[in-house]
C-alpha cells in the first residue's frame, strides 16, 4: 500500500470526477442554500476524510500497544496529523459556508464549538507527545492518549450537536436531510469521500516514508556509508 501506484491514479480520477460533476451536475434547488449545496462535496467530505484518517490512526495506536512495534506509532502519528489538517479545513470551510447561509462566520453553534473542542483535543495529542523526551514513553502515552482523543470525537461531533438546538443539519432545530438526494449521493459517496480520503492517505504515506528515511539516516548516516559511484 505504502509504495503502490494504482490507488493514487484512482484518487486523481475520483477527485476530477468530484470537481467536474460537483460543479456541473444538477443539484436539488433548496431555499437559503441555493448553489452552496455543492459544498457537500468539499466541506462535508473534509469531515468524512478526517473521520476515516482518525479511525486509521487509532487502529495503529491500538496495534502499537499490542505489539510494541515502533512503525505503528509513526503510522498513528502521521494519520492523526492528516486528520487534524482535514479537520481544520472543514472548520474553516464550514465557517465560510455559514457566513452566507447562517449570517456570520462564527455563531457559537454547538456543531462549531464541538468540532473545535475535538480538534483541540487532537492538537493536545501532538503537544503531549512533544513534551515527553523519552521515546518509548512518548510512543506509549501518545498511543493511549490517541485512543482517548478518538473516543472524545463521538460526543463532541456526533452526539451533543444533535441533542441541542443547532443551525447545522442534524441538530434539533434543523431536520434538513438533503444528502439523501440521489443526485448528491452520486457525487458524494463514490467521488468526494474516497477521493479526498485517498489524497489524505497519499500525503500521509509520503510523511511516513520521510519519517522512516529520517530514522534510518539517524541510525547510519549517509556520510559514514561507503560512497557508491553513480
Amino acid at each position: 500500500m505504502l509504495r503502490q501506484k494504482w490507488w493514487k491514479i484512482v484518487c486523481v480520477i475520483l477527485l476530477l470526477y468530484t470537481v467536474v460533476a460537483g460543479f456541473l451536475g444538477s443539484v436539488p434547488a433548496e431555499p437559503i442554500l441555493n448553489e452552496t449545496i455543492r459544498n457537500l462535496y468539499f466541506h462535508v467530505a473534509m469531515w468524512m476524510a478526517m473521520m476515516i484518517t482518525f479511525i486509521v490512526s487509532v487502529v495503529y495506536s491500538v496495534k502499537f500497544l499490542r505489539t510494541n512495534k515502533h512503525v505503528y506509532d509513526i503510522y498513528a502519528l502521521e494519520y492523526a496529523k492528516t486528520g487534524i489538517l482535514f479537520g481544520v479545513l472543514g472548520l474553516v470551510t464550514g465557517s465560510v459556508w455559514a457566513r452566507w447561509t447562517w449570517g456570520s462566520f462564527w455563531s457559537n453553534d454547538p456543531k462549531q464549538l464541538g468540532a473545535t473542542i475535538a480538534l483541540l483535543i487532537y492538537l493536545a495529542y501532538l503537544v503531549l507527545r512533544n513534551s515527553i523526551m523519552d521515546l518509548d514513553k512518548r510512543a506509549r502515552i501518545g498511543a493511549v492518549y490517541n485512543i482517548f482523543a478518538f473516543a472524545m470525537l463521538f460526543p463532541t461531533i456526533w452526539i451533543v450537536p444533535r441533542m441541542v438546538d443547532s443551525l447545522h443539519p442534524g441538530g434539533m432545530g434543523n431536520s434538513f436531510n438533503i444528502e439523501m438526494d440521489p443526485r448528491l449521493r452520486a457525487v458524494f459517496y463514490p467521488g468526494a469521500i474516497p477521493g479526498w480520503t485517498l489524497l489524505g492517505v497519499w500525503i500521509t504515506t509520503l510523511r511516513i516514508r520521510v519519517q522512516l528515511l529520517a530514522e534510518r539516516e539517524q541510525e547510519s548516516p549517509l556520510a559514514t556509508r561507503p560512497k557508491d559511484n553513480h
Binding site: R3, Q4, K5, W6, K8, I9, V10, V12, I13, L15, L16, Y17, V19, V20, F23, L24, G25, S26, P28, A29, E30, P31, N34, E35, P182, R183, A186, P190, G191, L199, W202, I203, L206, R209, V210, L213, R216, E217, L222
Partner: protein
C-alpha cells in the same frame, strides 16, 4: 493494478448511466433561485477549468514529491 482501475471506472460509468433517471424527479413548491443563468452563459465552465488546473497542479506537486522520496529510498537501500 490496471484491472482494479478498470473495475472502478466501470463502476463510475454505471453511476453516470443511471443519472437520467434522477433528472425526472422534479422539485415541488415554488421555484428556488439557482445560478441557472450563470451556467446558461457558459461561465461556470471557467470556474471548473480553474479548479481543475489547481487540483492537477497540487496533485502533480504531490506526485513529484512521491518520486523524490522514492529516489531517496532507493539510494539509502
Amino acid at each position: 493494478m490496471y484491472k482494479r482501475i478498470r473495475t472502478l471506472i466501470l463502476l463510475l460509468i454505471c453511476q453516470a448511466l443511471s443519472m437520467p433517471l434522477w433528472a425526472q424527479a422534479d422539485t415541488t413548491g415554488k421555484p428556488v433561485e439557482m445560478a441557472d443563468k450563470f451556467r446558461a452563459d457558459g461561465k461556470i465552465y471557467v470556474v471548473v477549468a480553474v479548479v481543475v488546473v489547481i487540483l492537477l497542479g497540487l496533485i502533480l506537486y504531490v506526485a513529484r514529491l512521491d518520486k523524490k522520496i522514492s529516489r531517496f529510498e532507493k539510494e539509502l537501500k
